[in-house]
Amino acid sequence: MAAPLRELRNGAPARRGWLALVPWATLAVFLGPVVLGLIGTLLPAFGILPALGGTGLTLTAWERLAAAPGLAGSLWLSVSTGVASTLLSLAIALAVLAAGYGTRPFAWVERLLAPLLAIPHAALALGLAFLLAASGWGVRLLHGLGGLAGADVFALPPLHAPLQDPDGIALTLGLVVKETPFLVLMGLAGLGQVNAARSLAAARALGYGRMTAWAKVVLPQLYPQIRLPLYAVLAFSLSVVDMALILGPGTPPPLAVQVLRWFNDPDLSLRFVASAGACLQLALVVGLIGLWRLAEMAAARLLRPWLTSGRRGTSGVLGRTAGVLGWAAVAGTSAAGMLAMAVWSVARRWRFPDLLPGELTLDTWARGLALLAGPLGATVLVAALASAIAVALSLGCLEYEDRAGIRPSTRALWLLYTPLLVPQIAFLFGIQVLLVLLRLDGTLAALVWSHLLFVLPYVFLTLSDPWRALDRRYARAALCLGVRPRTVFWRVKLPMLLRPILFAAAVGIAVSVAQYLPTLFAGAGRYATLTTEAVGQAAGGDRRTIGVAAVAQMAVPLLGFALALALPALAFRRRRGVA
């Protein structure tokens, strides 16, 4: 991350050695595949894929893509669900931050963040699917409430349920539930950078209500801090596959799902159409990020007079209530969905419209664990390796920054976000082509590497703030005691930052566990993980088995976070001063 930046040397000779290679290696590890993968997707879109007999430049794939039935519907579905869910997530995240930041109950929001973020997309979608399904908890609850009121609602499951609805409402809800906590987390990090508390206090002393003060003073400072994560959310929502397979409609599906279908079609000639579709997906994301940017600039211009109009605003009760309710809905839905999965996993019989199963059993777990032992092992192995490599590379980059005396620029941050901004489907096929050429497809190395592309940015982002926040004078004091930089790294920085380092490792594990498409493409069908199993089960699987798969999938990252909290507490149980 650091090497491409201008170096500022200081008095002492910069001590770098092999460490100087780490930022370059890191860039190569996670940007190289994205670039090569994009090329490997772009070429087949224009007819070039020698393995399938495509050697000449043609536009056939694009013509077939344009003629594909339902393409317009797919495009509209991607855009509407992606933009709606991003706007809604942003609104809820900003409202809850505005209503709560700096207040005492907000500690609860912060405490919930890690577990909410740890829930893999697929598990969350499966949980939400059961809440929304025709015979799900939502309908059962309505039936029960109706019964209390003496009315007989939903004696039978209704014919229409808001699940896999053609407008993608269920998918939008799922994305909101998944992405809001992430935006809250990024907002919190951003608020720390802009010293929001002081600005807020100053504005309120000038007579502004809390919400108005927030909107006029804090938001303009905060927004640039969360712009990149927000774009990542937009890009993800526009091109999500795993959640769309579970919650989204099938005819037509969102574009990314349709592209995946073409990639997996037994008719190999559709690979060319799929590549063209993947390029279209990329263009869609790039175009919408561009439009979003334009909208930002327009809003900034239009709202400027309002900032200085002197209006103090009202108490903002509405906004605060919306923030609290929105957050409660997000957290409550996640929790209810996960709880539903857990209940299903131990249910023997659970008739409609009972609220709870009549009989409990551990049989499903016994059978499920036997079946899932392989995927579980693969999940843990890949997650541990990808996370460990990501932590090592991130630490190398950050330590290099310290020793070379450089600070990263915004440009470096954009590089870091690249794998999160480019739709997965747009470069994973190209990577697969590349892996086949290198005879690496379906190997553990390829699988770990494909996860690393997405694990590394998150791990680096999680680790870099606490690393840079460590009082630099500790390292200086250690150096002035005559201790070498390497020893300072191992004996001062690492132990003092053990907690954030392990937390970043847990984030890495959670990100890896959640990966669906990379496992599909790089694993070449030879590796099944809990996530591919869970998504595979979703279509027509037994709900009890789905419950086991979803709970197992959720358990791995939660265990990671639990260890990340417990180990430093144990190691430093007699050291109160370790943050």
């Binding site: 002035c480 005559g482 001062v492 109160r576 001063g577």
Partner: protein, 226 residues
């Protein structure tokens, strides 16, 4: 104990961009004396100390020569300069016990009578005992009072056996009553070890109590005071 040394600054200043923070400084700090550098905040006092111990960072560039005992040290990394520094904050490592903090900076000389594991630990315990901190070896630094922590920080710096000592306003955060006693503690140690010592402060009382020569950092725009 290291032999008496002299710290010499020749034409030393700190540059940021094209600008000097203060007029180039010539100064000889003799062994066992405490030279005080005064100056308002922002005048570059702390940067001067960072320059001497080699931890100048960011856009700040060193200028001039620093000699310890006649040998230039400006090109050396901080850990090989033999210059100890005390900061405003004690900066005790929170993950190490009090004793481990002391051991952290103590030189290792395996195989010698004073550099082995047991000897180093005994040395640390003795130092604690001499500073009215007997029995504090295994304590968590977070459980110590401000004055106790400050004394441990001094011991840690001195046990690293520096050949010169820099004091970056180490008394400014202590309350008045503690301040005088702690100042005496630091000065006595510096003098008894015959260390050339440079104190940076904006408090006249510190300077008076140090009793040595006094220098005021001059802003780059104006003439240096004689």
């Amino acid at each position: 104990m290291s032999p008496a040394a002299t710290l010499v600054l020749q034409d030393v200043s700190v540059r940021v961009g094209g600008r000097r923070l203060f007029q180039p400084l010539d100064l000889t700090v003799t062994a066992g004396r405490i030279t005080t550098i005064m100056g308002p905040s922002g005048s570059g006092k702390s940067s001067l100390l960072a320059l001497i111990c080699g931890t100048l960072a960011g856009p700040l560039r060193p200028e001039g020569r620093v000699l310890l005992d006649g040998v230039p040290i400006g090109h050396l990394p901080p850990e090989r300069r033999g210059v100890g520094i005390l900061f405003q904050d004690d900066l005790l490592f929170p993950h190490l016990s009090v004793g481990e903090n002391l051991l952290f900076g103590m030189p290792r000389r395996p195989g010698t009578a004073t550099g082995g594991r047991a000897a180093r630990r005994q040395n640390a315990r003795n130092a604690l005992a001499n500073a009215d901190l007997a029995g504090f070896f295994d304590r968590d630094p977070a459980t110590l009072s401000g004055g106790q922590r400050a004394r441990v920080a001094v011991l840690r710096t001195l046990l690293a056996e520096p050949r010169a000592l820099l004091l970056d306003e180490p008394f400014s955060k202590l309350d008045m009553e503690l301040r005088g006693r702690f100042r005496r503690f630091v000065f006595d140690h510096a003098e008894s070890r015959r260390l050339p010592t440079l104190l940076v402060t904006h408090d006249m009382a510190d300077a008076d109590s140090a009793g040595g020569p006094m220098v005021t950092l001059a802003c780059a725009e104006t003439k240096a005071e004689p």
